[in-house]
Every structure is written in structure tokens, then in C-alpha cells.
Symmetry: D2
Subunit: 361 residues, 4 copies
Amino acid sequence: MIVKLAGPDETVLQAVSAALEAMGGQVRLLALPYGTFLAALGLEHPALKPIQAMAGVAWARPAGSKPILAARELNPGGSRVQLGAVSVGGETLALVAGPCSVEDREQITSTARFVAAFGATALRGGAYKPRTSPYAFQGLGLAGLELLREAADASGLPVVTEVMEPGDVAAMAPLVDCFQIGARNMANGPLLKAVGQAGKTVLLKRGPSATLAEFVLAAEYILLEGNAQVILCERGIRTFETATRNTLDLNAVPVLKSMTHLPVMVDPSHGTGRRDAVAAMARAAVAAGADGILVEVHPDPARALSDGDQSLHFPEFRRLAEQLKPVAEAVGRRLELPESLPFAPHQVPLIRRAMGWGGSR
Amino acid sequence: MIVKLAGPDETVLQAVSAALEAMGGQVRLLALPYGTFLAALGLEHPALKPIQAMAGVAWARPAGSKPILAARELNPGGSRVQLGAVSVGGETLALVAGPCSVEDREQITSTARFVAAFGATALRGGAYKPRTSPYAFQGLGLAGLELLREAADASGLPVVTEVMEPGDVAAMAPLVDCFQIGARNMANGPLLKAVGQAGKTVLLKRGPSATLAEFVLAAEYILLEGNAQVILCERGIRTFETATRNTLDLNAVPVLKSMTHLPVMVDPSHGTGRRDAVAAMARAAVAAGADGILVEVHPDPARALSDGDQSLHFPEFRRLAEQLKPVAEAVGRRLELPESLPFAPHQVPLIRRAMGWGGSR
Amino acid sequence: MIVKLAGPDETVLQAVSAALEAMGGQVRLLALPYGTFLAALGLEHPALKPIQAMAGVAWARPAGSKPILAARELNPGGSRVQLGAVSVGGETLALVAGPCSVEDREQITSTARFVAAFGATALRGGAYKPRTSPYAFQGLGLAGLELLREAADASGLPVVTEVMEPGDVAAMAPLVDCFQIGARNMANGPLLKAVGQAGKTVLLKRGPSATLAEFVLAAEYILLEGNAQVILCERGIRTFETATRNTLDLNAVPVLKSMTHLPVMVDPSHGTGRRDAVAAMARAAVAAGADGILVEVHPDPARALSDGDQSLHFPEFRRLAEQLKPVAEAVGRRLELPESLPFAPHQVPLIRRAMGWGGSR
Amino acid sequence: MIVKLAGPDETVLQAVSAALEAMGGQVRLLALPYGTFLAALGLEHPALKPIQAMAGVAWARPAGSKPILAARELNPGGSRVQLGAVSVGGETLALVAGPCSVEDREQITSTARFVAAFGATALRGGAYKPRTSPYAFQGLGLAGLELLREAADASGLPVVTEVMEPGDVAAMAPLVDCFQIGARNMANGPLLKAVGQAGKTVLLKRGPSATLAEFVLAAEYILLEGNAQVILCERGIRTFETATRNTLDLNAVPVLKSMTHLPVMVDPSHGTGRRDAVAAMARAAVAAGADGILVEVHPDPARALSDGDQSLHFPEFRRLAEQLKPVAEAVGRRLELPESLPFAPHQVPLIRRAMGWGGSR
């Protein structure tokens, strides 16, 4: 049972908690931006009525197979989740960019610097990598995360990175602004609970065979730990089509917006698996109403240790940002692009090379 | 084998035809906007070399499992297909609108008038309806087609309508500007050949479980009859997701553009099956680079004999057109919206009612 | 509306027909093995009650989105459909075998002779072939059908062959025992109606993205033309899996048996697309309760003009039949295998070669 | 790189290890039933040749995107994995049965006793439950596992139970004979590594959207930890079909058998989600060549806390076992069914009730 209190009145809270516990429920206080709630798991329907009748109780709802805390009606105006300078879900779009994997200091630093210079609002990069084959590159682990943090700090960006097991959350948390739950782990209950308890922002990716209803229930696991800082991310579903790595399902954007108040981002890199389709699908995502874009960028995609086929070259990222701006404005949103470079090109050799700015220096 | 001639030289044509026939091929002349071709079916690879060596032959390619005539490289700039006043594939977007089924004169006439007034460039409507259940409304047939033609003429729009069997093509042709091949019939070879021979524009919808490679091969069937007026239309594929009727696969837009020179339209009505998602996905399609939108509009969707859930109300269609215009411009395209109504509202009671323009009259 | 009469009483029939027509229905008499029915299309619910009240009416049901004539409850014991010597749906399994395409006289004759000798109960072979690419072999047409008929007659087997368009039904009918509707055409309403009217047995294959509910509705189209001789055939659905050509969905067997009284066969050749999986899946189909198996056999699969990868060599077919027999018996069914060869091996060179029986003769 | 040694010669082992380490590899010894191997992760191709040339090296293979240790060719006769009295992969079939969740002592004890009496070879039951909704029953945890162990011991059966996070493995291991990795966790690398290291038998379920190639790679994660006791389990994939909860993909049986030497079991309960289809699909699985069946059984499915719709009643389980026996024999396998009850029915009230054995007591 989920109980919404009319307000954060301490006396009411004590009284309702006590009543729920007396009925045998395990009670948990959830102070979310859109209300104060008590979750009492394990209580049956008959308990609803007496609780609903208590003073200071707005409503009590039975727990079932539908989301309660993530449901749109709980916050019809839509939630905002802070990620660095951007309030995701508001007017300004989030543009999260970076390589699939952190590979070495120069790779991540130059990428961070470049994407920051051309409009990124957060830096992504994987240190712990879920891979289909045990022989594929599994990421640099904590050492990689430290490089990522360092690069992000140098460019003034927040860090978004994937966590793969509950046991890693504590060690990673000090270095992370936003935990990504990867598609493979969308339905990993212990992991969802762990990031819920960590209190950091969470970017939750849709599982490749998850329905939208299941996706929102996965978010409900996190909210039920009292963590409201959840961003959903569509990244493609698995279908029969083989021309794309996944089938990026942009229908998810309007449909999720009708189901939940949580912000919705889109990852066209994994969604298509093809560099040549990323920009078109990013534009489409923004036009469909997405609150942000997550995109893979690499200084030299042909040599990337993972996901090279879908990673943008630096000049492609710059063009993407420039293309997204007018589309955002056409649908009443904004994307802020810096007006001048925060670095002198000759100071950043890898960027210079990647951009073909080369020359006599 | 497909042979491209260097030019439309009659002597060369005779010589090459004769050579192909001498080798045992059934030869067919294809005068397409991007070249003159000879198709010789049934010839094996060894025949290639001697033909390639003939004077006036640009190239000869073996027929296999890949498209030749529909392949992008044949016309890298992209093809244009005329549909009424719009050259589909060019700068201006096509906006094809109308009800799922033609139901009666007033329904189709008022819809035609309304959509024409607010930006539609062609009228769609079904007279022959493929339905899952034999008990569902199967369409008005030829009588419905006549109503559709009449309504389209009165509003100055071309007619797009579905044909279901080869035997109907001849009777329908005089009343039709563009034959639609529905999703169920994408791989219906005899029907593809029949509309290929009819020489009318064809709107070919993707089958619900067709890969993009198969989709382009279906178009190849039509081109191989010498009919180059083919528009592809993504309309959703079948996946495990149940929140939408189909999964509109916008990835198809950039991917098809890389595979074929044919124009690509998108049908967000069938693609989502939900009225509340149509506008978002139409905007997304335009941002992804679609050459046009196909959308269902009905004066009173709640009473529609088919597809009511996904049909737009009149005011929704108007808003959609207004929303598409800035998105089109943001990606370098145009959508022309009339500046003044071509009718006085009080003259069209059904439109007045549907728009809530009611009043004292 | 569908009306079941209590019995085939002519007076009742006249009276009910007249009443239905007076209400505006188009009335059709359906004399099916499990009852006499009147279908009155286009009548609304209010008409039900007065009809139900008439003498001699067993029941009247409103037409909707569910099957009526194909529903299990109409014939709970299950229907039998005669195919040559086998009553499909009864104790004895049907074993339909033959090449994908009829290629020439020797190929089809030797295959017919061989499969007949080792247990086949019907001969399959395609003369009209639906192909993804217009450049693929499209079948020999009527000439191929004549070869098929001749080969079948010589071996005493009935002919099962695909029909692709309504316009071909009349010309094919005299040469065909059982029309196959291929997977691509499962939802081709005009074709379903045409074979329904032809009055021949129909083998209806499931569409690659058709739900079982849609599959049964497609059969309903045929039954509604008064043709009860319908056999369903599961042949694989399209999924994300690429190790098999399709995903043979054997769940269809028990589930269809609960939904419909029609017999259910299984085609493991198309269902898997892999010769090495055909026998295992055929055994599985029989164990699941299938009423028969449809399998592709070719004297030299490596040279087949279509579907070579999934066609069994002659010795494999023989082993398959021998393997199916004990499985059939383990689930209370029978498969009759001839005890002696109806031909002297040396008289049939192609079979001798294919079986490795060669030698000094 | 994976290196196979010609034999378990300690000198060779030392020499090759040293060489690999000198090249920079992290070396791991894998003593598997079909050979002694050294895995050296992180080494590039150039290292292959010198290693291959060393004395006592059978072969060295580069690690890539394909399985090495799980590949069929490594053990063409097929592997056996002991589970209680059954050598899974051998002639005798495994029959793993029990409730979805352990609910209380009487439920699990009576189920264990019943299934043991009628042919089960192992007891399954969930103590840690992955659930789509955070409000659904999440299992009894360690307390549930203790009840399961107790029930299994009382009936002489080994325990199969799901583990959900790496952190739980150590606490669970003493109570478990076989760790189940559930479908949601098939690609959970940290969990696969953890059970690999635990050295217990692992039943690895296929993910609902995993290809068979990915499935075998997941097993490779476990083998790469030196644990060869891995059983694969097909349990249904997610498709568009809604008549079944999942689409049990029996094609997996023959195809996996061609790809890997690991035993393959089938779970028709999750695979169909329908009690009325379980027996048919279990028979089909055995006929297709499965090495065992995993099936849910509950004393009172209507009251089950999870998966009631797909759990067999006691009498249905008994019938299932009796039906599987002749099918197993028809394909050259065995299923051993006890000849007499190991308990007096009146001593087990819940079984008596569930079987309708009631009476005067």
C-alpha cells in the first residue's frame, strides 16, 4: 500500500506510520518532490479503508501490478531531474555525450573537452562494461572511472556511467553524478534497489525486450527507495530487423510521457548501431518530445575498443548539435551551444587531428 | 540480368535486345527517369561479359537477391514522384490525409474539404479494406471509390487508395491517382506486378514483419515492370510491445535513404494506433527526413467504421499541420499551408460541428 | 450474425432466411459437417433476439472480432479433413512431402515415387512461387502444375500446391487436390474467399507475424464461404533469432487445438530453414499433438532452385519417417509405412543415385 | 587466448603459463572434464604462434566473439552434468519439478514428496524472486531456502534454486545443489562469474530476447571460471504472440546441440505460461532431444503467490511423467518412474487433498 499524506505534518506521519505498522506493514517514508508518501509493503486490501479515513491522509492505494509513484497523474506537469547545469524535463535539452568505454587518459580528456565545447551538458563513458562475450573488453573498472571523473571535472561536466552490480555502488558513488543502469540490467531488482538507496541521479535504460509498462515498473523500484532522481532512456528494442543493431522505438517518447512524469531521454547510438543514422534519429527524438539525447562520440571510432560503428567522429558531433538546435526550437525547446571555444585548438592535439584542423603547428 | 544503356539510342537498343534474346533471355525495355534499361530475366552469369562488351552498354549486372533498379546508387540524388501538386522527394513535404474507410458522401466530402483547407496535398480513403476478421466492415468497393473521387475532385486533391487484388486494378485505375499497396500485401508478387503495369503512382507500405531489405525488393518488383513512380511508406512493424498497435520504425527513414533512391513517407496513424501519439511521431518522421506523412482523419473518430482509435479529429489535424511546418523548416524542408479558407465555414455543417465552430446558424 | 439451425429442415431454412433478408442481411447457407448454418452479414445486434426466438433455430451469434465457425466449441471432438487416403485430424498422421518447387519431370517424378514408397501420404510442390526478389525463380506455372499432377498420379498421391492469386484458382482447380495458401497470403482476403468458393481442401499456412487469433480468423474467411475442408499449418514466425530462418512455434499446436476444431499440421522445413533441425522438430511436432507434417524433400538439395538448405535428402526423409512412427505411437497416433518398395530400385536411376544404391547395374 | 594442453603435464603447464605471463596475459588454469586449458586474457593475436609452437600444447585459439570452451567441437560426444542421481546429458532424462516460489513449509514439503514419488529427479523452488513489479511477492529469501533444503532432503532430491546477485552466492551455496540463473540475468556478467567461481552446478536460462549465439556465450562466462557443470535451459523468448506468455522455442534444442556440448533442458511452464499447454510442450521437448524438463508444480495453483496460471496440479504432474516416459523411449532415452509410493497417502494430507484421494479419514 502507498499512502499519500496531505502534507509533511510530523504528527500525522507518526500516527499513520504507527497504524500501518500495527497492521503488520513494513513502513518506509518517501519524501519525493511531489509529495510525502508512506510505503507499507505486505499489507492487504482490507487495510486500505481505515488508513484512508485517518486525518492528514490524502489517499491510500493498493500495491499491484501498476506503478503508483512513477505514474503520470502523481505529477501531471512532469518531473525535473537535475543533471549538472540542466534541469532534465524542463525547457532545455540535455545532451549527454562521450565514448562507449573509457580507454585512456588522452581519449577521455580530449573527448570531454570537445563535447563540452560544442554543446554537451554531461559526459558519458563506461568503466564497467557489460559484454556479450567474456573475451570482449570488459572496461578499466575503478581506474577508468577515475580518469572519467578527472576529464569531466576538467571540462566542467557531470559524469554519467554504468554500474553493473550492487556491490560496486558504494565505491563508485563518490566519483559519479549519475548512475546509468544499462539495458541488460533494467530488470535487475537488487541493482535497482541499490542505486535507489545511493541517492544519486539514475539514468535507467529500457531493456531490449521490455514493454513500456515493464520499463516504468523498473523505475518504480528506484522511486520506492525514496530516490526521485530518475531519468528514463529509450535505446532500442530487439526486433527481427537486421539493418539496425536495435530498433530505436521513438513511440516510447509520447507513450512514456502519457504513462509517467519522469523525464525521457533517447540514445540513438545504441538504438541504431549505425553512425549514419544517429543524427537523423536524434533530430527525430527531439521532435517527438524527448528531454535529452545520449550519444556516443570517439576521437577515432575505427579504433574504439567497443561500439566503434555507432560512435560519432568529432565533426559529426558538432554538426549534430548544430542540427538539433533548430529542431528543438521548432518544438518549443532549447539547446544551448557555447559561442566560443573554451580552449585554443592548438592546445589539444587529439581534437585538432580529429577535426582535421591540422596544419603547420 | 539488368543492362543499362549509355543512352536511349534506338540502334543500340535493338542490337542489345537481339543479343539478349539470342542468349535465351526474356527481354523487357525499362525507360526510367534515371536511364534506359533492358531487363533480361532467366540469363545466367556467363552472358554478362559479352553484353558488357557491346557498344552503347553502360553496364550489365547479374540479377540476384539484391535490388538493382531501386538501389540508391542508380540515382544518388534521390527520385521525385509526382503526387498532385507535390513532387514527393523534393523540398516540399507531402501530407496525405483522410479517413481509413470511405463511409458515405458527407463523411468523405467534408473530410476532403477540411484537410485540403488545412494543408493536405492528397486525399486518402479506403474503398477495398483488408480486415483481420471476415465480419469486420470490408469497405464500400467501387461505389466507395466513386465517392472518394468525387470528394477529391471537389477539393482539388489527388486520390490515394488501396487495391487488394490484381483483378481490381483495371476497374479502379480511371478513378485513382495513386494505388496504395497495403502492409498485408507488400510481398504479394502478382499485385505488385499488376500495379507496376498499370503505370499509376504506387504508395507501397512496408509489411509488418518485413525487413528493410525485403521492402526495397518489393519495390523492385514494381520498377521491373517499368513503373518508376513508387513511394515507400513506413507504417510500423510488429514487435512484442503492446502499448502501441505497431512499432513505428523511424529508423527506416535514414536507412532506406541509404539503400534506395525512392521517396519515403511515414504513416504514424497505423504506426502507433493511438491518436495521442500521432502528432509526436509525425513531427519525428519529418525531423528524421521523411518526404511526407500519411495520416488518418475522421469527422467523428468515435463512430468510425474502422481505425477510430488512431484517426485524428479535425482540430487535431489542423494543429498537426501547424506543428509540422516549423519542424520541416528546421530540417530544410517546406510544408505549404493555405492562408485562407477556401470555403465559408457555415457552408460545411459537418466541419463546423467537428471544429466546434457551431453557433447561431 | 451466424445462425445455427437445429437441423437441416427445409421449411425452417426458408423461414429463417426470409426473416434475415427482411431485416436487410445478405444471407448465405453453410452446410458444414457439424451443422447447418445461415450467415447473415451486415445485421446489427438488435436482430439477434427475434431470430433466436424462431422455431428450429439452435442459436444466433453476433459477428464480431472472434471466430464462430472455426471455434473449437462448434465441434469439440475436432474436425477431420480428407487428404487422399488420410483423414487428417484422425488417428493416422498425414505426411506431406515433396520439393519446394517443381523443377522438371525427372525431379518431381522421382521425388514422388520415393516419398510415396517411404510413407508420404501426399505430394507437395510449388508451381507458382512467391519470392522475395523478383529475380528469384518464380516457378514453372501451369506447366509445372501439370508435371506435379502427373507425378502424383503415377505414385497414387494427392497433390498439395500453392495458389497465389484469385485469378488462378479456376485454371488450377482441376489439377489440384489441396490448395495451399502460403504464409505471405494468410491474410489475403480475396484469395481466402476464392479458395473458399472453389470447394477444394485448403492447407492454410500461418503468416510469419500472425498471432494465433488472427490465424484462426483467416480460416474463418474460408469457412464462411461454406468450405469446411481447412487444415491449419504452423510454419514458423519471424523473431529476432537468426540461427533459424524462422522460429517454428510449436506452442501453436496445443493452443490452436484449444481455440479451433480444425486439424493442425506443422512444416519444420520452413519453420527452421535448416536441414539438420528438421527431423528433431518434426518429432517434436508429432509429440505436441500435430495431425501431420509437411516437409521438403529434394533429390539433390544442393542444386535445388529454391529452399535447398532446408530440403531433406532422400535418405534423410526415409529416416525421418522411421523416426516419426514410434513417436506417433507414444502419443497414441499412427503413421503407416509401406512394407515393401512399390518399384525396383534399378528402375529409378535418380532415386538409386540419391540413395547411394548405385553399383553394377 | 585459450590454450589446450596435450595433457595435464605439470612441467608443460608451468612453462606455458610462464610464457603467457611473460607476454602480459592474465593466466588462468581450467581443468575441465574434456581437457586442461589455460586462458590468457588480454593477449593479442601475434602471441598465438609462439605458444602454438611450444611442446605439450595441443592448440591455441584467439579469443573473439565466438565461444571456445562451450563449442561443440571441444567435446563432440556431449557433456554430462551430474544433478542428484541423474547424469544430465546421458540416456536418462532429468525431471526438475517444484513450485515457482517457496511459500511455506507444508507447501514445499508436500510438493517435494509428491514430485519425488512420481518421477522428479530434482526439486526446484524460488526463495529469491525477480519480479517485474516491486509490489509483487519477492520471495522468502534465506528462510525460504532453508525450507526448500529441508523439503528436498526429506525426499532425497537435489535442490535447484535461483540466485539473483553475486553477493548472495556465498550464503546460499551450502544449501544449494544447483544455482539457477534466471532469464533476466542470463547476460549478468558479474553473476555469471560468481556462480562460475562457486563451483556448483549451474542451470542457465536463456534470456527472453537472447539469440542462441548469445546464450552460449553466457555459458562461456561460467566455463571460463573453470566450472564445467553448466546446463542450458530454453524457457521461451519474447515475440509478438500474446496467446502464450512467451514463445517456447524448441528449435533451440537441435540448434544448441549443434553449437555446444552442454546439456539442454526445457522449461515449458515459463515457455508457455499456460497450464493447458505444458504437457504437450514437455512431450515435444523430449521428442526434440532435450536432456530434461523443468516444470512448475503447486498443491493449489489458484492460490500460488506467483505463476499460478502455469503451475501443474499434482495429478497433472503425475500424468505428465507418465506421458513423457513412452516419448522418451521412442527417441532412445529413459525416464525412470518409481513403482511404488514411498509414503502412505493418508500420512500426507495436502497431497491427499490435491489428488482427490480424500475419503473417510
